[in-house]
């Protein structure tokens, strides 16, 4: 611990990035984000991003579509991974659905107005 030479940490590495990455992992990545977007008119779009790996996004989407009676799709984003898109404002419904199925409430973040 006190012997600095034995550290695997590279002291000459870029300083900002590792910290930023670690914060990213700690704070942002393990949240499930539920967002809303406005479309034309009164239409909206709900996106669910950051679904943990143990859930099958495809099956979840199917369940959502059936439960909320809306259409939806699975979008592959380079950065964000798989994102579920649903038609209409389904934010409250999604979060209650997830909470009912034993997803921890503190990991869900609902955005939007």
């Amino acid at each position: 611990m006190s012997v600095q030479n034995l550290n695997s940490f590279d002291p000459f590495a870029e300083e900002g990035d590792p910290l930023g990455d670690s914060q990213d992992v700690g704070s942002q990545a393990d949240y499930i984000h539920i967002r809303i977007q406005q479309r034309n008119g009164r239409k909206t779009l709900t996106t669910l991003q950051g679904l943990p790996k143990q859930y099958d996004a495809k099956k979840l989407l199917k369940a959502f579509k059936k439960e909320f009676a809306c259409n939806g799709t699975l979008v592959d984003d380079e950065k964000m991974g798989q994102v579920i898109q649903l038609q209409g404002d389904q934010r409250a419904k999604i979060s209650t659905f997830l909470i009912e199925h034993q997803v921890d409430k503190s990991t869900i973040k609902v955005h939007g107005f």
């Binding site: 300083e15 994102v83 107005f113």
Partner: protein
């Protein structure tokens, strides 16, 4: 009113038991208790539920401790919920509940205390239940008149002049102890000590030999804290963080104008860019600042919606997480935002604003990347 439930007992009873008090698994079908819940319900429906609640639950807690009736998790939840919700109220209520039992109905207290000895365990089941009902009924009746008195007296205690307040409960404590256990050498002196040391020394646990619960101690702590330095009370209650509501109006049909962004940012001591970035990422749109310093947001938004988002911004980036004070400073060091509190000196990093996934909306031909 009182006769009704006798005629159509099953339905109403069950309803009450499930909705109101998930409490009595013991005597759900004891007949003489039928009228009692009615009165309880009425009072609770009137809105005195909050007042009634802790008192009765307290009693039940005591009952549980004494009769060793089956532990009821639902009750405990109730208690927790109540204490969690209204810590401040609770401490005042503790006092009334003691009072009511001792001053107005000493017999009931004794009656309750007596069957506790294990010899009469057979009777216990029906009896205790009956008494529960009775007691809560009495509470319901007496609460209003008693409560006011208690409030006065307790407020007097809070203010500091509590001569008679101490004097009254003290003998009651003695009696209760005698009735309850007969032989507890430690209960008496400790009660006396606490009475002497703490100005409002009529805590609920003094009368019985049960352990004090965490919420009670918490309430006691806050009581003594506020007694010792009333300035804390005034700061928490008096000063509120207010911000002018955002003024939103529509430009055309597809854009909203947020006119007083700069004012609000100034009030919050935040860079407008930061606030605007947060707004855009939360609303999932984009926009621009026009020449007059107004923010033009793409999409239709109402004032309420923007207000919600601003509220969230304030919670996340303005109020100090430790002391809840809104005078904080946001500084950026090494690409990370730090929030330093001006009043308590704490410093913490805050989450960077990230837009996240933005679905493609509108024509693809307009979108260069898609």
């Amino acid at each position: 009113m009182s006769e009704e439930p006798l005629f159509d007992p099953s339905l109403k009873k069950r309803k009450k038991k499930q909705v109101q008090f998930t409490v009595d698994p013991l005597g759900a079908d004891a007949d003489p208790t039928a009228p009692a819940p009615d009165t309880i319900e009425a009072t609770t429906a009137d809105g005195t539920a909050v007042d009634l609640g802790p008192a009765t639950t307290h009693e039940r807690m005591k009952l549980n401790g004494e009769t060793e009736a089956p532990a009821k998790p639902a009750e405990e939840d109730d208690i927790k919920a109540m204490f969690g919700d209204m810590k401040k109220k609770k401490k005042k209520k503790e006092i009334p509940m003691d009072f009511v039992r001792r001053v107005f109905h000493p017999e009931s207290a004794y009656a309750r205390a007596r069957p506790m000895p294990p010899g009469e365990a057979v009777e216990d089941l029906d009896f205790s239940d009956l008494k529960k009902k009775k007691k809560s009924k009495k509470k319901a009746n007496f609460d209003l008149e008693a409560f006011e008195k208690e409030l006065k007296s307790s407020s007097g205690a809070d203010a500091g002049g509590d001569g008679d307040d101490d004097a009254e409960p003290a003998p009651a404590v003695d009696l209760d102890d005698d009735a309850d256990l007969g032989d507890d050498p430690f209960a008496q002196p400790s009660a006396g000590d606490v009475l002497a040391s703490v100005s409002s020394g009529n805590e609920a646990w003094l009368s019985s030999d049960r352990d004090y619960t965490y919420p009670e101690l918490l309430g006691r702590f806050y009581e003594s804290l506020h007694l010792a330095n009333p300035s804390l009370l005034s700061t928490s209650g008096g000063k509120r963080y207010t911000i002018a509501p955002p003024s939103i109006h529509r430009e055309g049909t597809k854009k909203s104008i947020f006119a007083n962004v700069s004012d609000i940012c100034k009030k919050m001591h935040r860079q407008p860019e930061h606030v605007i970035a947060f707004l855009f990422s939360e609303l999932g749109t984009n926009g621009s600042v026009d020449a007059a310093g107004q923010l033009v947001i793409k999409g239709r938004f109402q004032q309420k919606q923007i207000e919600n988002v601003l509220r969230r911004y304030i919670v996340e980036y303005v109020t100090c997480k430790t002391c809840k004070s809104p005078d904080t400073l946001l500084t950026k060091e090494n690409r990370i935002f730090f929030m330093a509190c001006e009043s308590c000196g704490s410093r913490r990093s805050v989450n960077p604003i990230k837009t996240g996934f933005v679905a493609q909306v509108g024509k693809r031909s307009k979108n260069k990347t898609g």
